[in-house]
Symmetry: C2
DNA sequence: TCTAATTTATGAGCGTAACTCATCAAAGAA
DNA sequence: TTCTTTGATGAGTTACGCTCATAAATTAGA
């Protein structure tokens, strides 16, 4: 296969994926039809099956590119921020901002992929777990810094944040984006930040003391037996 | 139509719904087939269409009974608990307990109904919003009591709790119930309870003072413009 | 430049599953 | 018993995912 040939094929596949994002984003996976995707991509139905094993395989291909875009943007937006708490706040903002500006993909990710059992075996899910680790690292950094309570398993904190954010995006999509996805951000982050603040110290008044207090309470609760929940 | 006739028809419908819960619970809505449900219910395929407009209509009928069961159990488990914070903790426990003991329905509710746009127009969703209000009332009670910070819109607190719980159930299902759904409950509730505690007071040390502190900060943040997020 | 070989695109045709409808069975009313 | 009404049935229709034989396009060799 020559280089030009490959280019041509890649271009066709890209057209198909682009059309698939639009169609899967506009209606449910079930209601979306291959023929509609083919029409929008301006290829024959059979061509889609030259590039993808089946309809689901096409769906699962979509997050590859989008997850990478998410990661790149995330790293960019976190640059220059030193402390974990500000990184977490920035993460929450970026997460909502990303899906707000990618509503078609948001629908695919939240309403289709997120609840699909087969998706967990795909490369897209592997990429998802990649940036999940980034989030976990920030939380652990905060625990080392003393700015995040360390008597709590970092996975719990991660899931609290992630669960809440995914929930907001999902509700926003189901309400046809009728309200601003970022509207609830400030109060929600305030709530979570307050929750994960080291115990025994009101940070606003006694920021310096909080670190010591946190250290004193290290490993108060049982460590989790099974962290493979994602 | 006579009483006996109606009884007979109701019995058939119940058989169909029972079979549908098993089949929709075992595989995705897409993979589940009407013929399999008909077989399991021991009726002809055509009979299903005497009782339900289509496959989706059958799916949407399922939560009617289960939501009522959820509500009854919830009210029972909340009985005798006076203060809002203990009610919220109990709610979280009951929520996870209910889905742990109803895994087939959990899959239908979390993986199908929760992300289905059409579901929002159904009676099942109306019932869901019914107990959502119960949860909101508990939070508002806590804000009046002074045990829950009232400088925060109650909807935010409700969504934080609900989002996290739904997230746990979803992850648990996608991991084939391989870990204990209740394992994360204690730490998560501790985290949320800490977050929604009135600001400025470490409750463990200065419980009495917290009320006053909370009142002092009433209406600190902007009220939400749009509460119709669910 | 012409030709053979390989890769990519095509769409008619197939299988399957949701759904319909004419017919049958069962129960109640007269 | 006969007529009417309601519920159950499954063969038939339709729509959609998917296959495959064929055509078109591109490359390599002479």
């Amino acid at each position: 296969m020559s280089v030009t040939h490959q280019r041509k094929k890649d271009a066709t596949r890209e057209q198909i994926v682009k059309a698939a994002i639009e169609v899967f984003g506009g209606k449910s996976y079930l209601e979306a039809s291959i023929s509609e995707i083919a029409q929008k991509a301006e290829v024959a139905e059979g061509t889609i099956y030259q590039h993808f094993k089946n309809k689901e395989d096409l769906l699962f291909f979509i997050p590859n590119d989008r997850t990478n875009a998410f990661c790149e943007g995330l790293e960019l937006h976190l640059q220059g921020i030193q402390d974990a708490r500000n990184k977490l706040a920035k993460f929450a903002w970026y997460y909502l901002y990303f899906f707000k500006t990618n509503p078609d993909y948001a629908r695919i990710a939240m309403l289709e992929l997120r609840v699909n059992r087969n998706f967990q075996k795909t490369n897209g899910y592997r990429l998802f777990r990649g940036w999940l680790k980034m989030l976990g690292d920030i939380i652990e950094q905060g625990q080392r810094e003393g700015s995040v309570r360390n008597d709590m398993d970092p996975v719990i904190i991660r899931e609290l944040l992630l669960g809440t954010l995914e929930h907001y995006v999902t509700r926003w999509l189901l309400k046809d984006e009728s309200w601003d996805l970022l509207e609830f951000r400030e109060q929600t982050i305030e709530l979570i930040m307050n929750g994960i603040k080291p115990a025994g110290g009101d940070e606003a008044k006694t920021a310096a003391a909080s670190k010591g207090a946190a250290e004193g309470r290290r490993s108060k609760v049982e460590p989790l037996k099974n962290k493979q929940m994602v």
